[in-house]
Amino acid sequence: MSQPFRLNKEGLINRNKKISFIFNGKKLFGYEGDTIASALIANGIHLVGRSFKYHRPRGFFGAGVEEPNAKLQVEFNGHSEPNVNATEMELVEGLSATSQNCWPSVNFDIGAINNFLKMFFPAGFYYKTFMWPKSFWYKIYEPFIRKAAGLGVASIEKDKERYEHKFEYCDLLVTGSGPSGLASAYAAAKNGAKVILAEDKPRFGGTLLTDDVSIDNLSGKDWAEKIISELKSMPNVTVKNRSQVFGYYDHNMLVMFERVSDHLEKKSKFTPRQRLWYIRAKETILSTGSIERPIVFGNNDTPGIFLSAAAKEYMKVYGVLVGKKPLIFTNNDSAYETALEFKKNNVEPIILDTREEHSSELIDEAKSKGIDIRFSHGVIVANGYKKVKSAKIGKLNKDKNSFEKIETVDCDCICVSGFWTPSVHLASQSGNKLKYEEKIDAFIPNKKKQHETSVGAANGSFTLEESLKNGFENGSNLSAKITDTKTEIAIPNVNEKKYGAHDKFWCMPLPKNENPKRFVDFQNDVSVSDIEIALREGYRSIEHVKRYTTLGMATDQGRTSNLNGLQLVSNIENKIVPEVGHTTFRPPFTPITIGTIVGREVGMEYMPTRKTPMHEWHEKNNAVFVDAGAWKRPRYYKQGNETLFEASKREAKNVRENVGICDVTTLGKIDIKGPDAAEFLNRVYTNAWMKLPIGKARYGLMLREDGIVMDDGTTTRISENHYHMTTTTAQAANVLSHLEYYLQIVWPELNVNVVSTTEQWAGAAIAGPKSRDMLSKLYPDLDVSNDALPFMGYKEADFFGVPSRIFRISFSGELAYEINVKSDHGMFMWEKMMELGKEFGNQPYGTEALSTLRIEMGHVAGPELDGRTIPSDVSLNGLVSKKKDFIGKNSLGREAFNVESRQKIVGLIPIDRKSSIPEGSHIVQDQNAKLPNPKLGHVSSSCWSVENNNPFSLAIMKDGKNMIGKKFFAVSPLKNKSIEVEVISSHYVDPEGKRVRS
């Protein structure tokens, strides 16, 4: 199959390797090194998509990142991706691309009816139309707008690809490998600086690949190659292609998107698809170049209309002609290079130059080659629906607001150049206050806030000589400050063509009675008339005009439309552009995949998993796990077909009747040492700590400074100046920070050290009436009697050759102990307990049974200590010392904390003794009261009391203690339940606490 628009030998593609691909169901081929765009153009295909709003036929406009139209749905490597830029995506074998935003096909698109109804779709159409009738919104308007929104289709499949994040630090980051970027990187590298050079495209060199220049007698391309290969050989330099620096954040952190393997046919298993680089650079060189801007004219969005530099790039890089009958429409000299390139390839262009007849090096060369040049001319309107067929061109009068002569010329493409716009996105993101440069009709960086320096075209220097000089100097000076080394580099001799002045002309007038659409922003379908409407309707700020018309929004970020939009606003408003200002440039500069942002943090890697040393045992014994922060805790151990409810009841019951063991490794543990440790604890906890004997534990309560309970737990005095603190699993990290805060900042005079030992100790609780019998089996040589090891006692003892700590503390309310051994021995301890506990009916129990046990005892936990309760709310005022000061004490005197009707903890049981009360239910007097029904409290924890064999809940209720004996309703609109309940004491089982002391 021949490629009608492929040149015979031009270009940098690999003609030895054919690549086949599919476009809209049709099999085509291109070459290695092609983009989807260049391969399609080579095959004579220009119609690739439909526009966003009017569904107008659209083709390619650019050759790289500036492309506003050619976004395709692309399938490759087994996944489908929307909005892929056809001008950037490299061709790979087997790739399949389809057009977006069209139905049933790009050739015949029903949505194109919008184009003929366009008078009904002006700017602000949606805002004005869908306001009424109000009832239409949900059922009619919203679904309709949703369907019309967006272009491609996001995949709903799981993304199987691998994405990575990388953190990198360097002295100098250079963003772009055009002449100024290469020069900067080279100079800095020679000074010994650590340099990263990032290039968005697959090929290094930027404009050096397409401009007809020579440097030190080498062609631009050869010089770029020479510099790149030298940079690659230097150990202090990282050179990256296919890498777009897309965001400039605080403190010189830049983020780069690397397309690692999208261009590869085969890759190894662990090669990521894309990689996100977080680069902290001491200095940044922004050598991002410039983007050609179009001139606005009628139907300027017709397929076959290109930026002139893109047309040149297709010829020089890809060996592809964008057309064989080109019209070149320009207001400056750079488009003449495109014309000369056409001519070189035996294609006859016509140049329409808006400037009056004059001469320059390039104009003279074009003339001498016999190219048809028409001065004071421009394209009024392009003819042709799916492809340019001809153009109505006009000779402009002296004021350039009307025509002296109008004629129609045949053409198959129009290459347009309205001069150049520096890519200032990164500079602007960094906080640089841009200034308007009259000489080039564009903004350039001016007042910097961060360590960035724009060079070359990005800074408004459009000659090679200036760009190189700029690059070498800045690269050298910036790096010398860091490395303290300065290597002299001779600035090379440059041979380039001199450009004449450009014409400050950017929008063609229309002849009378003609009104074709003149687009400013192709991607968002914003035309000249839309901007006129916005201004007519009173939008003045450029930011408002942007939002009303959608000019410069979305993935395009106004790359080709920004300045023309500003010019238009300033013309209508009779202001100059700097007064109009510019809209905010936002990252990312180009679209990046969600996968890259997420990186490896998906699925199991979303956060670390913490497992206790006994985890494997739990797994083997059918534990069903629950997440407690990052920890995995057994929720229950499933036997047979048991449900959660049945299993937790069995486990809890066994603790009440026999004995059970529970993995409590996850509890926070903090080692506290130092001569002032007791004084410190005395300030941290609400109760008294000065007289705790060695070998004794005490339950403690800590508050925040605002009087709210922060955490609770037991702390044991191991030796004179050594304490072992436990915290709840959830608050472990916060409590440690809290203690460090007071020790480092508030009371640095206290000689105390704290360190987390949560991971160092494995813990198991042994609970139940038979726990002492079991303990004596575990410690045959130890006196474990009530006298030798009383409630809140502590002993260190040998556990079958392993040192261990025994705490007689209880969360279940039963006679209970907690054994700690070094983590490495956790599994040994657990297995030994299971083995020796058999005769006592020992069973492991999970968090669900643990909750049941503590709820029916009325012990508070996270749901009660919810950041809103003070000690007296949860019946812990007995632990609040009146004699000493502590953190948060002063707040407890607040009036609101001491009113009679203050919320209090209570117990609830359903009147029918059967219905479980959903946690979170509201307590109300009258379940049928008119909303909003006054809320008297809420249910914080619920369980099935195994002791009394009926449901039981804890609740925090207004004036709770005086409500005991009264009946209310617990309503849960979420579960659609309303249960009549009776208020009882929160201590449902063993209110005197006899069992723990038995």
């Binding site: 605080d250 403190h251 902290r280 400074e705 920070s737 460090e740 805060y741 480092q744 002063n890 005197g893």
Partner: protein, 89 residues
Amino acid sequence: MLYIKCPYCGLRAQKEFSYGGDATVKRPNINEEVSSEDWDNFVYMRKSPRGKHIELWQHIAGCRQWIKVQRDTATHEIFQTAKVTEEIR
């Protein structure tokens, strides 16, 4: 992402730190009488300045030291960092 110079560890990425509020707030002395007004000011009242602000950060994924950072709340510029025992002027 900010780049914060821990006085103990050197320049580190913001994600290693956690924010701890205004560093100029002084807790009333323990075991000393304090008026309700002073106490309320300490617990609740914070300025929210636009511009220079001396604040606490903890190097939570590093040396675990609390440090002082003088930062511009509008621009994020960091002027100075110091140990909590040192003064920032």
